[in-house]
């Protein structure tokens, strides 16, 4: 039986010819995003924004043609690591962008260091990511940035007792810890800290538990894509009738899903670094162009991470006029500041993390659609997660 003929492995392997030699005029950007699986809406938003940026600013910078190589890691860290290695070794990319969830960024960090490839985190929000490699920069946000701000704001605005509900993974723990610190420092009290399973969560029992503790508000952090289910079940359980407010980072009132949440979500206060309703001219053209390019899909805070990552790359290449040496690019990028659709942002030279405005905003209805309307601004917020250390 063992004597079967077998398609010789060598022939099959011959199929995968070595990657095309990189012509000197081309700068390749490796995009590692969750295009399938639970976080696929993050991948779709980020990639759309990156392509929009290239459409608006052309695909040549400092004489070099920009080329995106998109890989789907399905938000699974093993895949991200292997895809990153392939992009570095086989496709010889000069940048890595993306990382829908924290584990995928952490898995690639050692690679970025060893291969000296600037790696821009456009989505993941846990503080420690930028500490894991000197070649990592971030254009998305960190959870503590918005959690601390909402914590301080809540303590000052008559919210005494809070129950925290967070998804059971690194960003969830980050936001819960920093919110609790800021909120208790401001005189507030956290009655109970509830952790919700990351995959296929049903919030009903947890909301019921939170309601029984009868807090003034619930601090909630769930990954983008799950906010709507949370809010709908929050309303369905009648917590809004019981006078309990929702507060938290803007992930829960994600622009991508806000319209589907129904009228009762109006009045929810969150803190975040981007709202599709941000009143700047740059943001208006960005939102229009994004909607036109993606048949009416409204850009959310994840898309802005991708858009600004492209801007960072274009500016860096201009500064090094096309030189793709890792260290030169890093030096060019550190400390860079510019106006993004979300508002003025900059890259902190020491931590390479993003410094940006955090806005307090309330959900309101504007010409038939729900938006997070900003009403208070905290300028140039560094990542509190690292600032204390």
């Amino acid at each position: 039986m063992l004597k079967h003929l077998l398609t010789p492995l060598a022939v099959a392997l011959g199929l995968a010819a070595a990657g095309p030699a990189s012509a000197q005029g081309v700068v390749k950007i490796g995009v590692i995003e969750a295009m399938t699986g639970q976080q696929q809406s993050t991948g779709v938003q980020t990639l759309a924004a990156m392509r929009l940026y290239m459409q608006q600013h052309g695909d040549t910078v400092a004489g070099k043609k920009i080329e995106l190589i998109v890989k789907d890691d399905g938000a699974v860290a093993d895949n991200s690591k292997r895809l990153a290695q392939e992009l570095i070794v086989r496709d010889k990319v000069s940048f890595l962008v993306g990382f829908a969830v924290t584990p995928t960024a952490l898995a690639v960090a050692p690679l970025a260091t060893e291969a000296k490839v600037p790696t821009i985190v456009a989505n993941a929000g846990t503080s420690i990511i930028t500490e894991r490699s000197p070649y990592i920069l971030r254009t998305s946000f960190t959870l503590p940035q918005s959690s601390v701000i909402i914590g301080e704001w809540a303590a000052k605005n008559g919210i005494k007792k809070v129950v925290t509900i967070v998804s059971d993974y690194a960003p969830g723990a980050d936001s819960e810890k920093t919110f609790t610190e800021a909120f208790t420092k401001g005189g507030g009290q956290v009655l109970e800290a509830v952790k919700v399973p990351l995959a296929a969560p049903d919030f009903a029992p947890f909301l019921q538990r939170a309601r029984d503790a009868s807090p003034d508000a619930i601090f909630v952090f769930v990954p983008s894509g799950q906010g709507a289910t949370f809010v709908k079940q929050f309303i369905e359980r009648g917590l809004d009738k019981a006078g309990i407010k929702i507060i938290g980072p803007g992930d829960v009132t994600d622009d991508d899903l806000l319209n589907g949440m129904g009228e009762q979500v109006i009045g929810t206060v969150t803190a975040h670094m981007y709202s599709a309703d941000h009143p700047s001219e740059l943001n208006k053209t960005y939102v229009e162009a994004f909607k036109k390019a993606n048949n009416g899909l409204r850009p959310n805070f994840m898309s802005v991470g991708g858009y600004d990552a492209m801007h960072l790359i274009y500016e860096a290449l201009k500064k090094t006029n096309g030189d793709t040496n890792g260290d030169k690019l890093m030096a060019a990028m550190k400390g860079m500041a510019w106006d993004s659709p979300r508002g003025p942002i900059s890259i902190d030279p020491e931590t390479r993390d993003i410094v940006q405005n955090i806005y307090i905003r309330k959900v309101e209805k504007k010409n038939g659609e729900l938006y997070n309307v900003e009403f208070a601004t905290f300028d140039a917020v560094k990542d509190p997660g690292k600032a204390k250390k």
């Binding site: 063992l2 004597k3 003929l5 010789p8 099959a12 998109v70 890989k71 860290a77 093993d78 292997r82």
Partner: protein, 356 residues
């Protein structure tokens, strides 16, 4: 080719051992297969990353073949043992309990095997359907435990902070995956040899008998329970080693190593290569991973459609018919490999009366 006259029992005895040894002998095709595999170390240096992953898929599919192809046990939760091995290797490295990778790999194999032994009794009784559901349930349970025990396994974030010592203290895991590939390919080859011996041995033969006809197997004195427990434990150990390899070559492991997708893909890889001849998992891994890699670069968002279509077509066309397409190639191989079934000459002219 007329063999010597059959009637002399010595000639018959030699014909019998010729048949047995022919079964165990290495056919040239197998040699070409492994030469091809090892030659990729020098021929395709840039592909070592995906090749390492193929080797790991091949080992997992091989272990699934041991129970599906040779004992007829269908499992949709083989990732449970894969994950146990992956986390064991990860924890050993992270807490520097067993630094040396090869030793850690053995421990992961033992862990996988022990877990396999413990759950093997669940799988002995019951029809295909109950086995399908039990294995699925066990894998889900292990995944939930790993998710809950975040203090140990890092939960949804995966096991952070693994740094791998060099293999045998000599070969450091480099960025480009060369060490990783040579290491994994050698492990696969060694385990393949072991599996080939076990499957070819009287024990392996009795497994085929149990799978072929359980009623007759027990009617000739084969006790089924311990045989099935034995092969299930061995297969679990193999899957544990495959998991350990993944952790060691990527210095990371997460809940994905216990996921339903991992078990379903292992089944898919095995089916592509065909069950019951040990090479199924290996060929399937090459075809599946390259196809997946090629399709997912073409359409990052919708590659699952093509994999799904591929699966539906395989079933509709019929796996055995696809096996049939390779039949002419198999006959060609038999001729090349020089083993011709030893045809005894016609018995003494058949006379009328039956001689007792």
């Amino acid at each position: 080719m007329r063999g010597p006259d059959v009637s002399t029992s010595a000639a018959l005895a030699s014909a019998i051992s010729a048949q047995f040894s022919a079964r165990a002998r290495w056919s040239p095709l197998e040699m070409v297969f492994w030469l091809g595999a090892f030659s990729t170390i020098w021929l395709l240096p840039e592909q070592h990353l995906i090749l390492t992953e193929i080797v790991i898929w091949a080992l997992l599919a091989l272990s699934l073949d041991l129970i599906l192809g040779y004992a007829g046990i269908i499992s949709l939760g083989h990732a449970a043992f894969f994950g146990v091995g992956a986390y064991t290797a990860g924890l050993l490295a992270k807490h520097a309990l067993v630094g040396e990778p090869v030793l850690a790999l053995l421990v992961s194999g033992l862990a996988g095997g022990a877990f396999g032994f413990a759950t093997s009794f669940l799988v002995l009784r019951g029809t295909d359907l109950t086995r399908l559901m039990v294995t699925l349930g066990v894998a889900l349970l292990v995944r939930e435990i790993a998710n809950r025990a975040a203090w140990l396994t890092g939960g949804a974030d995966g096991l952070q902070g693994i740094d791998m010592q060099p293999v045998l203290g000599l070969f450091r895991f480099d960025l480009y995956g060369h060490t990783a590939y040579i290491y994994s390919l050698t492990v696969l080859f060694v385990l393949f040899l072991l599996a080939r011996r076990v499957v070819g041995s009287p024990f392996g033969l009795s497994l085929l008998a149990i799978k072929g006809n359980p009623l007759r197997a027990s009617a000739v004195g084969i006790g089924q329970t311990w045989r099935l427990v034995g092969i299930y434990t061995l297969a679990a150990a193999y899957a544990g080693i495959a998991g350990g390899l993944l952790t060691q070559t990527t210095a990371f492991t997460s809940l994905e190593s216990l996921s339903f997708d991992r078990s379903a893909d292992a089944l898919l890889v095995l089916i592509i290569g065909g069950t019951g001849h040990l090479y199924g998992g290996l060929i399937g891994a090459v075809v599946f991973r390259f196809a997946q890699d090629w399709i997912s670069t073409a359409t990052p968002q919708y590659w699952q459609f093509w994999i799904g279509l591929f699966l539906v077509l395989i079933v509709l066309v019929g796996r055995d018919r696809i096996g049939g397409w390779f039949a002419p190639l198999r006959r060609l191989a038999d001729r090349i490999s020089g083993w011709r079934p030893w045809r005894p000459g016609p018995a003494a002219a058949p006379d009328e009366g039956g001689r007792p």
